[in-house]
């Protein structure tokens, strides 16, 4: 056995080395080939959005080659960006998302700090509970929440249904648990000596949080912020259920309900609206990709 192995390894070493690098070159070619295929699959819908958005209604209904723009026009963009209704959707979405980010951070950062650093009665249970809450989907809660909001309205007279600001209370249920969870991970990775040093330097708990933990865990904070923003921006079910008047709608609901008029689909405008609606998260992603991905993987790798 051993002589056999030596036989093989000895004289043929050079050839073997050569074949290995050839193998690698082929593996690389195949990798690129399949990556291109998958990229086509993954990027077809957004590219098709862009193509259609540049077409006039006439060109679309003429049923020419759908993959090519023969007479590019920005008329769809001009029309939407000057339409009060669409701007209203955009404005509602922006306000809701930004406010939800703020609320989320104000709730989850202090809570994560307490859960990561101040062991207290029930803190482990609460941390687990936060994670479990994150696993409760919106489609389980929209019906009872709808009824609850209606009841609050009946008893107090405060109108909550069909008002965009009700989303400010509802969206944090989607963002806060995950943001708290990943901030716990980031805070826990800060060496214990750092808060002890701060303690000896005379910092209170709140000063330790604001002057040491938040600056040090800034990457985590950015990741959590991005997460909260994209979730709020993309949320579809809750605004579909809780808001109905055109002036109260956020983008995803606005585009799907108002641009589709009966059975008439104005596809040029729908695609333009969808692309504009996808733009803010895409832009954030383009500039802060590393934070975005860090936030995405943090849930499973940091826990």
């Amino acid at each position: 056995m051993s002589t056999l192995a030596i036989d093989k390894a000895g004289p043929s070493r050079k050839i073997k080395y050569g074949s290995m690098s050839r193998d690698r070159a082929w593996a690389l070619r195949w990798s690129y080939f399949f990556l291109v295929l998958f990229a086509i699959f993954f990027l077809t819908p957004p590219i098709y959005m862009l193509i259609t958005s540049l077409k006039s209604s006439a060109e679309i209904s003429a049923a020419t080659n759908p993959w090519w723009v023969f007479h590019p026009t920005l008329s769809n963009y001009v029309e939407l960006l000057t339409s009060n209704q669409f701007l209203r959707f955009f404005w509602n979405s922006s306000i809701v998302s930004l406010a939800v980010v703020l609320v989320t951070m104000l709730i989850s950062v202090p809570a994560a700090f307490a859960l990561a650093r101040m062991k207290f009665w029930g803190s482990t249970t609460l941390a687990t509970g936060v994670f479990l809450t994150y696993l409760i989907p919106d489609s389980l809660l929209f019906i009872p929440l709808f009824k609850m909001l209606a009841l609050v309205q009946d008893y107090t007279g405060i109108t909550l249904l069909n008002r965009w600001y009700v989303l400010l209370f509802i969206y944090p249920t989607l963002t806060v648990p995950f943001c708290t969870w990943i901030m716990i991970g980031y805070f826990a990775s800060i060496p214990k000596e750092l808060d002890e040093a701060a303690l000896i330097d005379g910092a209170s708990w709140l000063q330790t949080l604001t002057r040491i933990f938040i600056p040090v865990a800034l990457p985590g904070l950015i990741a959590a912020t991005i997460f909260a923003f994209t979730v709020s921006w993309a949320q579809f079910l809750y605004p579909l259920v809780f808001t109905t008047s055109v002036d109260q709608l956020v983008l995803p609901v606005g585009i799907t309900t108002t641009l589709i008029k009966g059975d008439v689909f104005n596809w040029g405008q729908i695609m333009t609206g969808a692309l504009l609606g996808a733009a803010p998260p895409l832009i954030i992603y383009a500039f802060l990709m590393d934070y975005y991905i860090a936030g995405l993987t943090a849930g499973a790798t940091k826990g």
Binding site: P191, E193, L194, E196, A197, A198, L199, I200, D201, G202, A203, Q207, R211, I212, P215, V216, L218
Partner: protein
């Protein structure tokens, strides 16, 4: 600056006692080193002095005041951590002044203190850098600077050099000593490295299993260890412990190491050990430097014997030789020119004037 006192200090975690009743008096300006193997309670003791751990029992006093329930920030202490614990988002100057800024010191005062400390530690050029841009030794200096600017009553060091490489460690050791000579602040320093302990301390506190084994100056610990633990812990290579017993041969008291090897004790030692019962199981404690090559002009009390070396380690200025005595491994230090070779026979000399005799069961040095 102030003295520090520990009175019967106990630390319990659930049902485990990490520190089992420590009494320690540290004088003003003194440099005390707590040394011991990991888990001996030295770091816990330091953290209790700092106020980072509650004490389960006993009292801790700083400057005569009991500080058991005083939070760390009001104890007027400063601490240097093993991983330095520099705030990564602050510059060196901001790191050093953080404590002062929290206490709302006047800006001019802060600046003066930071400049002074930076000058003392030779980091004036680094004052605007972030910790990430500093080398290990520089971070160490900044951590010390952060402690110095506070001008506290007590400095606490928690294994500050163990993250540095060997060469830098020696250098920083000297640096710490210099700084202490200048600022003269009472210092408690924790390390597991006995060399660090010996070189830095005014007095060394050897701890083991939550208790103090011995307190003394470095030389006292080295030459007059009180227990087997201290004898074995201090000094490198460690002291040899060879099973032995005492015998009376005529009127002389002799020590028998193996069936073949037995030596008469020098008169001073014989007088000291004469009263011991001959039946006790004893250990001969002998440092390697008292086991050397034999030569022509031996002092009295130095006895020779022949052995076969197992392994030799040339160290340059000396050669360490390893051999067995009835199965007990023994280490000696011989002149590099004495011709020690692996597996070769050699005649060695044992200096019984520097011997220690220990009770094998109790571990007490007799």
């Amino acid at each position: 600056m102030a003295d520090v006192a520990l009175r019967k200090v106990v630390k319990r975690y659930d049902d485990v006692e990490a520190v089992r009743g420590i009494d320690l008096d540290i004088a003003d300006h003194e440099f005390i080193v707590l040394v011991g193997p990991s888990g001996c309670g030295k770091s816990t003791t330091l953290r209790m002095i700092a106020g980072l751990e509650d004490i389960s029992d006993g009292d801790i006093m700083i400057g005569g005041d009991v500080v058991n329930d005083v939070p760390p920030k009001d104890r007027d202490i400063a601490m240097v951590f093993q991983n330095y614990a520099l705030y990564p988002h602050m510059t060196v100057a901001e790191n050093m002044s953080f404590g002062l800024r929290l206490k709302h010191y006047p800006k001019a005062e802060i600046k003066a203190r930071v400049t002074e400390a930076a000058r003392l530690l030779d980091i004036t050029d680094l004052i605007d850098r972030k910790p990430k841009q500093l080398s290990g030794g520089q971070r160490q200096r900044v951590a010390m600077g952060r402690a110095i600017v506070r001008n506290p009553k007590v400095f606490l060091f928690d294994e500050p050099l163990s993250n540095l490489d060997a060469k830098l460690r020696v250098q920083m050791r000297i640096e710490i000593k210099k700084v202490h000579q200048k600022v003269r602040t009472t210092t408690v320093y924790v390390t597991h490295d006995q060399v660090e302990a010996m070189t830095l301390a005014d007095r060394v506190v050897v701890m083991n299993k939550g208790r103090i084994e011995q307190i003394g100056t470095p030389n006292e610990l080295y030459h007059k260890p009180a227990t087997r633990f201290v004898a074995g812990f201090i000094g490198s290579p460690a002291m040899n412990f060879i099973p032995c017993r005492l015998e009376d041969v005529g009127s002389t008291l002799q020590i028998r190491l193996t069936d073949r090897i037995a030596f008469p004790l020098p008169p001073a030692r014989a007088a000291r050990y004469n009263a011991l019962p001959r039946t006790d199981k004893l250990l001969l404690g002998l440092r390697p430097e008292h086991l050397t090559e034999s030569h022509a002009h031996l002092e009295s009390g130095v006895e020779t014997f022949d052995t076969v070396l197992d392994v030799t380690e040339p160290m340059g200025m000396e050669t360490l030789v390893y051999f067995g005595l009835d199965g007990t491994p023994v280490c000696g230090r011989v002149n590099p020119n004495a011709g020690a070779k692996d597996g070769a026979p050699m005649r060695l000399a044992m200096d019984l004037n520097n011997m220690h005799l220990l009770n094998e069961e109790t571990g007490v040095v007799l």
